[in-house]
């Protein structure tokens, strides 16, 4: 039997006030009328805890868009889970946050788009930046730990020092600097988002120096730009290994992007118990462990280090999710990635970023 999962990413809604062009949610968003009800979400939380989940990430879209968010925080916390709110900060008021904290919210993850207001608002597609400064003050004011999340790309990678300084001013305990992952909406904006090799090379020492300087006060997590790497990312620490995602309509996914694998059928909590989906469903067992691997993964010394990389990326770029992630230098399909990199537009000549279309 597979080991129990530690984390549940609960995507409560796809509705979001921001229009970020790097959004990795699917092209086709779940509509409000198809979202799970409060009772259904409570059942998901109960089942997740019984299965072994100890970390609940309430996410979206913007989870504050769900009026029942306080009830869900109470439920998850009452079950003994560590409750993390992943938010844009828009709609977070002093009263709402105090209520969530009183109900057992443990931690807040706040997205930030760039170091200064003008650039940040341009990427977010709305005037969002000043709300984030207020939200950070509210979080730290209540003594809750704060993580600042920043998705990095061609337009903000040069500002990474300023982004670190902003996170320090915000009082963040952790800063996640994650290079864009090209799934969902982000994939169609890839040419506009993909950083140059020079940008990445310039950012690396800045991040390393900041990490050293802030050791002990602010942890900096840096997620690499995998197209530019020789080894793939150890996606989700293996398929169906540690975490599961429940999307707004109740579809259960091994990773947030998994719906891009269109030849895999995913179960929903409306039809099947969560434990059965985790342990026995075709979608979770398909790429669990190492038995599904082909060469070069099957015989590779790194097969339990990077788990063959990302199944979604293998599917998107090669048409078969069981292939080695084409980012890997050993993949016979690495040429697909190299072609994308070779087509890199010179700075200033990249296409416009297409803002995310809204969920209905």
């Amino acid at each position: 039997m597979a080991e129990a999962p530690f984390g549940l990413l609960a995507e409560l809604t796809h509705r979001c006030p921001l229009r970020c062009g790097y959004c990795s949610n699917p092209l086709e968003l779940v509509r409000r009328r198809d979202e799970l009800s409060t009772e259904q979400w409570c059942s998901v939380l109960d089942q997740a805890r019984a299965l072994g989940v100890l970390q609940v990430h309430l996410s979206g879209g913007e989870p504050l868009g769900r009026p029942d968010l306080p009830d869900l925080v109470s439920r998850a916390s009452g079950l003994g889970c560590y409750v993390n709110l992943v938010t844009s900060g828009l709609g977070l008021t002093s009263d709402r946050l105090a209520d969530l904290a009183a109900r057992g919210l443990d931690h807040v993850q706040l997205s930030v788009q760039d170091a200064d207001r003008r650039d940040a608002d341009r990427v977010a597609g709305v005037r969002a930046h000043h709300h984030k400064l207020v939200a950070a003050d509210l979080v730290t004011g209540l003594g809750l730990p704060l993580t600042v999340n920043v998705v990095l790309h061609r337009r903000n990678l040069d500002h990474v020092a300023g982004i670190v300084a902003l996170a320090e001013r915000m009082g963040a305990q952790r800063l996640e600097l994650a290079n864009t992952q090209y799934y969902g909406w982000a994939l169609r904006n890839r040419a506009a988002l993909l950083p140059t090799a020079d940008q990445l090379a310039a950012a690396a020492p800045v991040v390393a120096a900041a990490r050293e300087r802030l050791r002990g006060s602010m942890e900096i997590v840096y997620v690499v730009a995998d197209y530019h790497e020789a080894h793939p990312k150890p996606c989700m620490h293996g398929w169906g290994a540690r975490q599961l995602t429940v999307s707004p309509d109740g579809t259960v996914l091994p990773c947030p992007a998994a719906s891009v694998i269109t030849d895999l059928e995913f179960d929903t909590v409306r039809d099947r118990p969560l434990a059965e989906i985790w342990h026995d469903s075709r979608s979770f067992t398909a790429y669990r462990g190492t038995d599904w691997m082909r060469d070069p993964c099957r015989s590779c010394a790194r097969r339990e280090v990077d788990f063959g990389g990302c199944r979604c990326q293998a599917f998107q770029l090669t048409g078969d999710a069981a292939n080695t992630d084409p980012v890997c230098s050993l993949s016979p399909d690495r040429g697909v990635v190299d072609l994308v990199l070779a087509a890199e537009a010179p700075p200033g000549a990249e296409p416009d970023l297409v803002p995310r279309r809204a969920a209905r």
């Binding site: 100890l54 993390n84 931690h107 730990p145 993580t147």
Partner: protein
């Protein structure tokens, strides 16, 4: 490097100790992570109250268990500091 025995360990802000009935183990919960504790680590973490020094923790454990060495407790605390779940005061 192992910390001096007069340092005072405490759980970091945002870290919560809990017992998981599913895994029948003590656990530490923190932003983006879970640490499943073995019984020894659980006993040490249970005494990291922000007042007791590492030497105090070792003395209390020695009342209950045989063969507790302060150096081993210090090393375990060092590993918890490395995992960013424990801070040292003093």
């Amino acid at each position: 490097m192992t910390p001096a025995h007069d340092r005072v360990p405490r759980l970091r802000t945002g870290v919560r100790a809990s017992y998981d009935r599913v895994r029948e183990s003590h656990v530490l919960l923190f932003p983006e992570g879970v640490l499943v504790l073995n019984p020894t680590a659980a006993a040490v973490v249970g005494l990291c109250d922000g007042r007791a020094t590492i030497a105090d923790v070792a003395r209390t454990l020695a009342d209950e268990f045989d063969g507790v060495r302060t150096a081993d407790v210090a090393e375990l605390v060092a590993r918890l500091v490395e995992r960013r779940v424990v801070d040292l005061d003093g």
